[in-house]
């Protein structure tokens, strides 16, 4: 057994076509970015993506901001003497001061603590719903496309029907009926429940070209079950699209959350989110502008950074992008 392995090692390692006796130096093909060879230096796909991502300054900048924001949301309350749910009734609508770094709201809540809490809530809602949306839409989109025929027709018809539903209104109704503390959870569920439909359509379109590829047909011809084909072949090959959509989906989910909360239909006191803060701030924009300014600055920073990351990712993953640099 080991003998055979040793023998074939020589053959296979060195070359494409067995050529006994002639110890040949191994060469590779340029276009495929590498070959099987002994001194082959393998660049894994992840390192490649990271390298390409890092080559883009704006993407790195976005990443840094995003990480700072996440750290801020996680650890920001550790350094503040105030908690978001303990208002300081001695300082109502106060401008930023040594005591209250970013001022207080009309109700006396510390703005800094409120923003930390609000950012955390917004991020949580955004990230969870975006990931869920991608999982659901990837599975449903690929399934609809994979089975073709009747399944595709009925599936597309259902998707079209679902698109007609006034999702904003329904989400608002779901969240309204929930209690104060679990509001964010219902909001996440609501955004997810109506957010996947559009993406599923997009993914179905992408799968349509994928399903014609030989390796999908090869799997069918080997007798691989449909579910396995979808999970092992179709979804991973949409990976780059899914990752980009997930990242950019965070922005749209945060925006949706903010919009709903701003209208008073999202997260309610005592819990808070960026949208809720904005709503509170807009009523006193002339008398206490900091209540509006600081949360909006954070919101803009958040969406801006995620957008930059999304752009960078798209370029890093896209094999046709210019991230390879320039020849000398």
């Amino acid at each position: 057994m080991s003998e055979m392995a040793a023998e074939t090692k020589d053959l296979g390692l060195n070359q494409d076509i067995a050529n006994e006796g002639e110890p040949t130096v191994v060469v590779t093909r340029p276009s495929q970015g590498g070959d099987a060879q002994s001194d082959f230096k393998r660049t894994s796909r992840m390192t490649l993506y990271v390298r390409r991502f890092l080559r883009r300054p704006s993407a790195v900048f976005g990443m840094v901001i995003f990480i700072i924001l996440v750290l801020f949301a996680l650890l920001g309350d550790k350094i503040s003497p105030w908690r978001y749910d303990e208002p300081d009734f001695t300082a109502l609508a106060q401008a930023p001061s040594a005591d209250h770094w970013l001022g207080t709201t009309i109700g006396g809540s510390d703005m800094y603590a409120m923003i930390v809490r609000g950012l955390g809530r917004s991020l949580l809602v955004g990230v969870i719903s975006s990931v869920l949306i991608m999982i659901i839409s990837a599975l449903i989109g690929t399934t609809i496309a994979f089975f073709e025929g009747v399944v595709e027709k009925v599936g597309m018809w259902l998707l079209d029907m679902l698109l007609v539903i006034p999702s904003f209104l329904l989400v608002a109704m779901i969240v309204r009926s929930s209690s104060g503390t679990s509001g964010w959870l219902w909001l996440t569920i609501g955004i997810t429940a109506f957010g996947w439909i559009g993406y599923a359509r997009v993914i179905r379109t992408l799968t349509m070209s994928l399903r014609e590829l030989d390796y999908i047909r090869a799997a069918k011809f080997m007798g691989v079950s449909s579910f396995r084909i979808i999970v092992r072949h179709l979804v991973p090959n949409l990976g780059s699209v899914l990752i980009i959509n997930t990242v950019l989906g965070v922005v749209s989910a945060v925006n949706q959350e903010t919009a709903l909360s701003f209208l008073g239909l999202g997260i309610k006191a005592p819990d808070t989110s960026l949208g809720t803060l904005l709503m509170n701030g807009q009523s006193s924009v002339l008398t206490a502008p900091w209540i509006l300014l600081f949360p909006s600055a954070v919101l803009i920073l958040l969406t801006f950074s995620v957008q930059l990351i999304g752009d960078g990712l798209r370029d890093a993953i896209d094999p046709y992008s210019r991230s390879a640099g320039k020849a000398e």
């Binding site: 067995a18 050529n19 060469v27 970015g33 590498g34 799997a219 011809f221 080997m222 092992r232 072949h233």
Partner: protein, 698 residues
């Protein structure tokens, strides 16, 4: 503008129209700088055809793109390209646009993607014309378009102008692309593998059209191809490229009769000959093409060259004139020796031993029938647009096909695209009850209701190999998982799978340690080996192969063909082989079935079909195959079939081939009436009882 160029042409006949000097192109890549072209020199004269031959990655296409100024932005170009004395490399994209399509035109490989699907042929031709002649009137454009389409041999040109690309077949589309290329009477036409995607019969037509177009425009042609057969017939001079450099340059006869560079010899020796019966194994060039990043010093071919010495590994030879041969240049340190001793391909490359077949000596009749197809039919409905899709007709993709495949033999299905050969394969592989007729695999009839278990067993007996190993392997899975997939379907245990994968890798001559790599890390030939390993994983009795070597480089192709042969002999597996390359078929198959419009028109042993073809279609098909020998190419009489396959939606009361049949016109009125009125059946015609043809007058 047009006037002045017209005047120039008369004075510039003897001067080269295009001069390329020391052209170098580098690309940036993650691995480092790719030196795609490293010093190309040539002169191009009006009315002459320069052939550039080389494998993928040899820099031939990059050279042509550099001339067109169509290289990617991350390319760095050095050297000089002068068109009529004008330096092209310093021109801006805008200045190049004036030349492109007007003075220098290009015919691309893939006619499917060279035309925009949303515009009609007429609109696209109009675009090609108007961009360089803004003053043309509607009538002039229409007239010129029709003229062009007629020139490239498209029937009903007036009507076809309104048609969209998808309404044309591949060959027709390529004709349209050629029409667009010659629309403005260019001085240089660059053809980048223009016939690679086409059938042999269509290839013969398109080559003829190209030659006609060249005569009509007097243009110089750069013909890029990997097919030595094609280039033998069309080129005047040939440049053989390897690793971005020309390694041999001479006129076409010299290259084919007295090649000097070992690589050229290898290329010529690795292709099976369509005009000769199989005499021995093919000889692959060992190794794979060069990595153009971090090239080691020395001759780039040295690692694959059996003649390489230390000098070859130390310094790269220059392209120098070969002593005693006029006009021949070669880049090899050992030229003197090769010329002096008169070394040929057989002296340089060693021929391996083939494995004797498991079934050698057992006559065909005594072998078990692996696949039995009887009267198989497959139709696709044709629907008309509108809200409710109604059926307006049907396409007879496969029409009454009967054939059997026995243990250990290779049956080849031959025919133009659209003849139903791939559909036949797919129909067998689907394991669904056919519309009509029956399919049995090892005695098991394929029926509508089969248990999961029966289906699984069928999957273990029949496997499929695709044409393109780049797309048939999931790029996101490591080789181990790819090979494990069919085994998992057969419910094998982890240990069994592990052992089997190690054996498989050895079987296809790959290193078992490489199973953790991804498909993109292997070369084309290696990937096809992996695909073969995957197909053989479950020990099938029958493998269906859809053009398994046509996507591979010539030097790699030979290795894969040898492997397929050895595996068949070792394992006794039967192949049902679909290919358009008749040379390969002649080499590998035992029996041949020629298909036309979904029907088998001739079936018989390899020898019978190639030596004494009965059906006129087979004759035409065989004569269309280009032979890699310029002398034969120049003298032989080729039967060029007129027209293309009739639409498969047509129904014929008589012989479907009658409309294109060269024999038909030689028949008397009564005989012609029989051809048109009575469908011929497949029957024994001459001596051999195993040789059948469907022709009234064969």
């Amino acid at each position: 503008m047009t006037d002045t160029t017209m005047n120039n042409t008369t004075t510039a006949e003897d001067k080269p129209i295009l001069e390329v000097r020391d052209l170098r192109v580098n690309f940036a890549s993650e691995a480092g700088t790719v030196r795609a072209v490293r010093g190309v020199n040539f002169d191009l004269y009006r009315g002459k055809t320069l052939g550039i031959v080389g494998e993928s990655g040899s820099g031939k296409s990059v050279t042509s793109m550099a001339i067109m100024g169509l290289l990617d932005k991350n390319a760095h170009v050095e050297g000089s390209i002068r068109f009529r004395g004008d330096e092209l490399l310093t021109k801006t994209d805008k200045e190049m646009s004036v030349l492109r399509g007007d003075r220098i035109a290009m015919v691309f490989q893939d006619p499917l993607s060279a035309l925009t699907p949303v515009f009609s042929i007429g609109q696209q031709l109009e675009e090609a014309l108007v961009i360089h002649n803004p003053k043309m009137t509607k009538e002039q454009i229409a007239k010129r378009s029709i003229e062009l389409l007629k020139l490239v041999g498209i029937p009903n040109a007036e009507e076809r102008l309104k048609a969209y690309p998808h309404q044309f077949s591949g060959g027709m589309r390529q004709r349209v692309v050629i029409a667009m290329a010659i629309a403005n009477n260019p001085d240089v036409i660059i053809c980048d593998e223009p016939t690679t995607a086409l059938d042999v019969t269509i290839q013969a037509q398109v080559l003829e059209v190209l030659q006609r177009a060249q005569q009509e425009t007097g243009a110089a042609v750069i013909f890029i191809t990997h097919d030595l057969g094609v280039i033998a017939g069309i080129a005047d001079d040939i440049i053989v490229m390897y690793a971005g450099r020309p390694v041999e340059k001479a006129d076409v006869d010299t290259v084919f009769s007295q090649p000097v560079m070992p690589y050229t010899m290898g290329l010529l020796g690795a292709v099976p000959r369509p005009d000769r019966a199989k005499s021995s194994r093919l000889v692959p060039i060992p190794g794979a093409p060069m990595n153009l990043v971090n090239m080691p010093k020395g001759c780039p071919f040295a690692p694959r060259c059996p003649l390489a010495t230390d000098v070859c590994r130390q310094s790269e030879p220059d392209l120098l004139p070969v002593e005693g041969r006029e006009g021949q240049l070669a880049a090899c340190h050992r030229v003197r020796e090769i010329v002096g001793k008169g070394l040929t391909f057989r002296d340089i490359y060693s021929v391996g031993e083939s494995v004797t077949s498991k079934f050698a000596g057992i006559p065909r009749e005594d072998r078990q029938v692996v696949l039995d197809v009887k009267h198989l039919k497959k139709t696709f409905p044709l629907t008309a647009g509108g809200f409710l899709r109604r059926k307006v007709g049907e396409v007879h993709a496969v029409d009454d096909v009967t054939l059997d495949v026995r243990e250990g033999e290779t049956v080849a299905l031959v025919g133009e695209s659209g003849s139903g050969k791939s559909t036949t394969l797919l129909e067998i592989m689907e394991f669904k009850q056919p519309e009509s007729g029956e399919i049995s695999v090892l005695g098991q009839r394929v029926e509508k209701r089969m248990s999961r278990e029966t289906r699984r067993q069928l999957h273990s007996k029949v496997q499929y190999i695709f044409q393109d190993p780049m797309s048939s392997l999931d790029p996101r899975l490591p080789i181990y998982d790819i090979l494990a997939e069919p085994l998992k379907v057969q419910k094998m245990s982890k240990e069994q799978i592990n052992d089997r994968i190690r054996d498989l890798m050895a079987l296809v001559e790959l290193n078992p340690d490489q199973v953790d790599r991804f498909p993109t890390q292997f070369s084309g030939g290696q990937r096809q080996r992996i695909a073969i390993a995957r197909a053989l994983a479950v020990n099938p009795k029958l493998v269906l192969l859809d053009e398994p070597v046509s996507a591979l480089d010539v030097s790699i192709q030979a290795g894969v063909i040898n492997l397929l042969e050895d595996l068949q002999n070792k394992l006794g597996v039967a192949y049902l082989f679909v290919a358009h390359n008749l040379s390969v078929i002649r080499h590998i198959s035992n029996r041949i079935a020629v298909m036309y419009l979904g029907r088998i028109v001739e079936i018989g042993s390899n020898h019978d079909v190639f030596e004494t073809p009965l059906h006129p279609y087979t004759e035409a098909l065989l004569s269309a195959v280009p032979v890699p020998d310029p002398k034969i190419e120049r003298t032989r009489q080729r039967i060029v079939l007129q027209g293309e396959l009739p639409s498969p939606s047509e129904s014929f009361s008589g012989c479907p081939f009658a409309s294109r049949c060269p024999k038909f016109s030689t028949l008397s009125k009564e005989q012609q009436a029989r051809c048109l009125g009575e469908a011929p059946v497949l029957e024994v015609k001459s001596g051999s009882a195993d040789h059948l043809a469907a022709c009234h007058f064969a």
